[in-house]
Chain length 734, copies 2
Amino acid sequence: MDTTGCSHHLSYADWSLSETQFDPNQLHSRETVFTIGNGYLGTRGSFEEGYPHALPATFIRGVYDEVPIVYTELANCPDWLSFTITADGERFRLDRGEILSYERQLDLHWGILNRRVRWRSPNGKTLDLDFQRFASLADEHVLGIRCQLTPVDCDSLIEIQASINGYPENQGFDHWEWLDQGKTDRGIWLQVHTRTSRIELGMASGMTVSGAEALLQVTSVPGYPTLTTTFLAAVEKTVTLEKVVTVFTSREVEAPVQAAQVKLAQLPAYSVLLTAHEQAWDEIWQKSDVVVEGDTKAQLAIRYNLFQLLISASRHDKRVSIPAKTLSGFGYRGHIFWDTEIFILPFFTFTQPEIARNLLTYRCHTLNGARRKAAFYGYKGAMFAWESADTGDEVTPRWALPNQPYGEEVRIWCRDREIHISSDIAYAVWYYWQATGDDEWMRDCGAEIILDTAIFWMSRVEWNTQQERYEIREVIGADEYHEQVNNNALTNRMVQWHLEKAIYVFDWLSNRFADRAAELKQKLHLTSERCRRCQDIVTNLWIPYDPTTRLIEQFEGFFNLEDINLDDYEPRTRSMQALLSIDGANKRQVLKQPDVLMLLYLMRGVGEFPYSQEVLLKNWGYYAPRTDITYGSSLGPAIHSILASDLGASAEAYERFMQAALVDLEDVRGNAADGIHGASAGGVWQAVVLGFGGIHLAGDEPVANPHLPSGWMRLHFKLHWHGKWHEFDLRPIS
Amino acid sequence: MDTTGCSHHLSYADWSLSETQFDPNQLHSRETVFTIGNGYLGTRGSFEEGYPHALPATFIRGVYDEVPIVYTELANCPDWLSFTITADGERFRLDRGEILSYERQLDLHWGILNRRVRWRSPNGKTLDLDFQRFASLADEHVLGIRCQLTPVDCDSLIEIQASINGYPENQGFDHWEWLDQGKTDRGIWLQVHTRTSRIELGMASGMTVSGAEALLQVTSVPGYPTLTTTFLAAVEKTVTLEKVVTVFTSREVEAPVQAAQVKLAQLPAYSVLLTAHEQAWDEIWQKSDVVVEGDTKAQLAIRYNLFQLLISASRHDKRVSIPAKTLSGFGYRGHIFWDTEIFILPFFTFTQPEIARNLLTYRCHTLNGARRKAAFYGYKGAMFAWESADTGDEVTPRWALPNQPYGEEVRIWCRDREIHISSDIAYAVWYYWQATGDDEWMRDCGAEIILDTAIFWMSRVEWNTQQERYEIREVIGADEYHEQVNNNALTNRMVQWHLEKAIYVFDWLSNRFADRAAELKQKLHLTSERCRRCQDIVTNLWIPYDPTTRLIEQFEGFFNLEDINLDDYEPRTRSMQALLSIDGANKRQVLKQPDVLMLLYLMRGVGEFPYSQEVLLKNWGYYAPRTDITYGSSLGPAIHSILASDLGASAEAYERFMQAALVDLEDVRGNAADGIHGASAGGVWQAVVLGFGGIHLAGDEPVANPHLPSGWMRLHFKLHWHGKWHEFDLRPIS
């Protein structure tokens, strides 16, 4: 394997990400980067032994609990990592003593995190420590840690504490109430539940020691059950400790702590667990891998982003989706945005369609929440939440509150106005259906989503009597720098498209599944009058597009705003909104992220108006230079990369692609600490497959029209389309 | 000692409060009731062994840390109580097994909390447990727990874990970050600091065992250092465990954890500590006790309220004050209101003047915060915060936020409008000065408070050109049911009084301490033009008083509001605001608490207009029936009691007095769980001394004009006035 470059103490091989030096300034961002998981839970890459100000976290899908201001958040779960080592009375910790050598390595192929440290204690004794951890993909309720310990200079009296830490925190807040704890023949267990949502969690843990005479003891400090062992480790002789943990919640089983105990009692050896885990990963990659030759950094970065998506997507639960920051950080509190449907979903739709179906079924389960939101705002049908959690009710915070006694609160308007999400979800449903031909799911779930959101739109549009057209007023488009606009082109066109498809889907359903059509007709009041008006809206909804110039106006009046040249603000390290103020950005022609270009990208996917080379060229020329692609939204770069590929702007496409691909690995935006940029990771797959691979999906067969970046000798991937696997092995035109 | 009545499983003796049955439904309110403390810290009466959903808390004065919405709060400190007992493998907990007998008893004279339990384990083994705890009044950094344990049926293998629990929480939020922990010859220690305010705390603990062969071990689970001991306890033989804890913060010493270790190493035996503690309490009561004969329940309740005040007032720190819920609960987040100056302070001014001085000096230390608040609102001088914490900046939350996604937020206006507090503080300064003749403190602190708040008022009043009078518009008076009123009588008259005294104080200062007067003149810009205008405001500030009817109108237009009869709403268990809605109460003649009557009470204290028997009689007749005295503010009953005494309405006076005196003991308002009602406790002393004792303080000697409740055979108390102690031994006129 060749290894290229080494920036930020990271080195890249095809399948392996290595950190060769520990830098406390990157503590939190690297905790994010070294997240592992298995779709049931995600665990940040925090150290087993702890570190001052660390942000360890384990998030289990769907385990939400109430919290002020943002209503609900994913609760950080009891910490299964806790593992402290005391050698001759000195506790191993990286902020004391001396780190003689260090390597942390994430193996993406097998889903294993390793860390090797040679540490000299403050008293001058040297220890070799080799940590390994994994969250089993073969059995998602099983977790493992192995620690191999070798005294370097002399025999050492070692004390190990392997705990379940029942005091996890969400940036200070502890969602758990202690219920009980105890010990069994095999180890220790803890039973807790969340404060408000009353989700019960049971965790059990056992440990084995080999290479030394050691006896396990149980210490039962409240909330912190601990396995303790003390032994003499001989110089240059390795002692191996294997800690296994089982975890269940009341979302899956009735009696989680019993389930955890039973599972623990039945577990085979650590090595057996590891083998099963590796086999499961191997199967996953058979379908989802993307091979790049000629660019090791890109190769690793692609696999890294796919790995992070794969560990955050549920394979066994249809009532959850992927949060914006996956299961890897506290950012956005585990809330779910359009990020999932528009940015992340295609990767799953085309390589793991069962997972894509689970993710979309979450929206079906949360339709009642969307209906409550619509009713609250005085509309009909289902109006999806901009930020969604367990119930689908709107959980976008209303306010950004000041910390200072005399600071001003800022109203956040997305819950009220960023309503394009309802069509984004309909779009994803349609796309999934087109790709998979999964008619049963469309009958049971997809149709209801598309139809009831269409009903919402029919109550949301307004008829402009003067202009004799339908309009959608007071919205936020994809570009969040403009917070109150009328007739956003993206929103209006997506709604038009959505209503058109709603008519199609209802016709299809009536023909194919008349019973279900009748059921929905009654449930959603799909009268023929409504159907006629739906068609009327499709025909008369205004899209601010000028066919002579081929320019789409982002929203009514955008072209009249003060124009600025972003180059005048370079070099900068902050967003344009931070530089201009919220109000200042609102009043200028500057975009946080693609909006008209986003619309073009979305219509490219379904091959519809206004996507065409001419329109793209014209609007790219206008909007790309006005978009804050560096410090605006992380959702932008991958989309720009795809469109640049379409335009043959290969260097630009590659630059934007790498900006997206390295957003967490190299902390490009300085906020990797908050968690993985899930949408960006999904965008990376799209930029590679749809952009560089140039895949178009118009007919029965996906067609490649590759634009490989310079230096790429090969691009290989698979797509699942219409029930068949399609393999692409692209090489540069020589 | 005679014991009367037993309600809510509480029984009352002269000095001893007993709970004779454990009721889990009263868990939280009784945690409040059995709070102990020493002015440095307060510790709620939670059980050493824990209980599901318990709210244990230790608050140390001045240890504030940031928190969303309410800006800052007293941080719950590491729990020094943690003490678990496992007998033959079964953990002692009151929610398991059977409670064969139970008594919790708070000895008010000696400041000691005892609990005796006979417990039968789920496996049928019986144990006698006798717990004792105290927070030393002799050395406020020392805490002690004693546990005496006796197996009843057979020998028992006992395991004890005596910990410092480093995971305390403020209703879910943990303010502490772990720094270090370890062991010494004498025990264990923990070092933590607050997340934002970076206050460091060090705690150390040791334990001795007598009556059994036992060896102490240290378990060092992260954040939870623990002393463990295992021993065989012989049947009917008592084993005694004595756990001592020392605690310091960086507010008192540079190196708190070292200070805690050194203190621990030097501690004498538990019994010696206890004796010193008892002596300190004896001295306190020499001055502050109130003796009642003929009414044991009232006697106990009075001492209980005084005890709760005495343990929450700092004797060694001038930068802190007493929070509304003292150091006993999470209510109001440890914020400081007018409750301290108006309701609590008189007890200290007249029985512990050094403490009163400390409390007022806090306002001097927070003058800069009050100046920042004034500047923020566009005024001059110092505008005290309605809710104050460490800096004096305004920390009243702006919003009551909904938990539900579609709930509405409610704006809280007190920070903006409840501005009478600036005069309340000036009033307390004046009162303290009158009582003590402490000219030095007046020179150094008091004068600046009175003068700079006067400057605030001069910028706050408005000249009404039409009416040719000064007015104060858009305020909230004492009665918080009316949230936006003009010319509130209490506010206007207090301001008038305040400005009058400001002129007096500046004259006095100029005559007595010319240098200081010159210094303040320059610092506060006390120009002669300003002094003239101050006099003009005193003369022309409008007080809505009708000399013909002798009725004071609560505010401009109050008499025009819809009138209601509170009897029509009886029986009720909620406040009138809850029944009528915020808006509904605003529009009606219904009061949350005395406002005009509060003004009369305040002017009674200084013997000034409009207080007179005629005005009182007239306004009592109007306002008392319109006041929600049962479920409005807990600040009301004691004030009504005093005024009822003045009017010779003895039965009413006693009823209101008991309502205040039992507010926590019998959880009269259902919110004792949130913490002690500090203002009510202070009001109880005033109701007894000023109301029943009828003390007037006009001249050089306090004069009693007693109105003893029926059945009271004796009322005895002391007052410190003008440098001398005055003893009152009042008996009914036979």
